[in-house]
């Protein structure tokens, strides 16, 4: 685990089609209250030819996370693999992190199980929180802990076009590099060079 590069999200704008599969997968996986949107798909320049595009945004689990730096009660902690988490039992719901966050990730509910004190909620990269792994307490406060199960976070796993990729930075860049390198090469149905060497 320590050999992991830091965990990253990457959304390929060329592939994102604004289907909201990721955001609903997140809502559903963690059974979030309706007022909470840990992940959102943003559509820009709607209807303008050549300019319309969409992308999926949640907590980006920054290095030197600004939220963590401004938190007055030190409720944030960063795992070795770079996932930025916070402790809802410490959070006082002040909202400083929202000011600091460049992505609008922190969410502040007003009701429901999550929001009795209006404490902040955000994407955990499906890694739960400080409570015992996969305990009811963890599930109630932070949702599923898929990382502990060795599973891909729900949003990226369910992305319809595989625009949203998640993983350690090296894996993410490998996938994207393969995508870039494959451009124009056609669909691979036999090993590369096969038809040249042996005919069809």
């Amino acid at each position: 685990m320590s050999s992991f590069a830091r965990m990253k999200f990457y959304c390929d704008e060329k592939r994102c089609i604004d289907c909201d599969g990721c955001s609903v997968a997140c809502d559903e996986a963690h059974e979030l209250p309706v007022g909470i949107s840990r992940r959102k798909v943003i559509l820009l320049n709607e209807g303008i030819e050549g300019k319309e595009f969409s992308t999926s945004v949640a907590c980006m689990h920054c290095t030197d996370a600004p939220c963590e730096q401004v938190c007055p009660v030190n409720c944030f902690y960063i795992r070795e693999d770079g996932i930025v988490l916070h402790d809802k039992n410490i959070c006082i719901g002040c909202g400083y992190c929202l000011y600091a966050c460049p992505f609008g990730a922190p969410q502040f509910p007003t009701d429901g199980a999550f929001g009795t004190r209006g404490v902040m909620d955000k994407c955990t990269m499906c890694a739960g929180g400080p409570e015992p792994t996969n305990s009811d307490a963890e599930r109630k406060l932070y949702g599923q802990n898929r990382i502990a199960e060795g599973k891909v976070p729900a949003c990226a796993a369910m992305c319809s076009t595989k625009a949203l990729i998640v993983g350690d930075a090296q894996s993410v860049s490998k996938i994207y590099r393969e995508r870039v390198a494959s451009v124009g090469h056609g669909v691979q149905s036999a090993p590369y060079g096969w038809s040249k060497a042996y005919g069809k």
Partner: protein, 186 residues
């Protein structure tokens, strides 16, 4: 949480590289407020691996559109507890749009129809299945006798599975009418 684990840990391994609690809890012997003062129990291997012990995975297909994405349902004691990802499905590779990702909530929706109802005098009234079926078939049989089978229109569904669709067509045939159709017409 008074003597928070974070603080305890921060002195040892640095504030920015905390490990996940449960994974290290026993190693550091840290306590958790949630365990009401007791020593935190390390998560069992089974719990870390699977939060729903004893659950089974059921393969099925999304009911939303005709792409036919794979759905894997995690079921524990007869309850659909989690929608898993059908990563190995040849068409969808685990992908879903928002509708597909939400299949579990469609099924568990609180506002589903729960029991047969009938409108009487403009008011909804709960009735039993037997009474509903008896009343419906009596009325249908009466209409069939007085006005003929063509006085009934059957509308089926593109949400049927094939077996149901086939049997619905057969039902109309044996009822005695070709007044049957479904959404493919629109």
């Amino acid at each position: 949480m008074q003597n928070t684990t974070q603080k305890a840990l921060s002195t040892r391994i640095g504030r920015r590289s905390f490990l996940k609690m449960a994974a290290v809890a026993s190693a550091f012997g840290a306590t958790s407020a949630f365990a009401s003062g007791n020593v935190t129990r390390a998560a069992t291997k089974e719990e870390v691996k699977n939060p729903f012990p004893g659950s089974k995975l059921v393969k099925t297909i999304c009911t939303s559109c005709s792409v036919g994405c794979g759905v894997i349902a995690e079921v524990q004691n007869g309850v659909w507890v989690r929608q898993e990802v059908a990563q190995d499905h040849p068409v969808s590779l685990g992908g879903h749009c928002c509708k597909g990702a939400d299949m579990i909530d469609m099924v568990r929706s609180e506002i589903r129809n729960k029991h047969p109802m009938v409108k009487e005098n403009g008011e909804w009234k709960r009735i039993s299945w037997d009474s509903a079926l008896d009343r419906i078939s009596k009325k249908l049989e009466d209409l069939r006798k007085t006005s003929g089978p063509d006085s009934t229109m059957f509308l089926g569904s593109a949400k049927f599975n094939n077996e149901q669709a086939y049997y619905f067509r057969k039902f109309a045939a044996m009822y005695g009418t070709n007044n049957i159709d479904h959404q493919a017409r629109i």
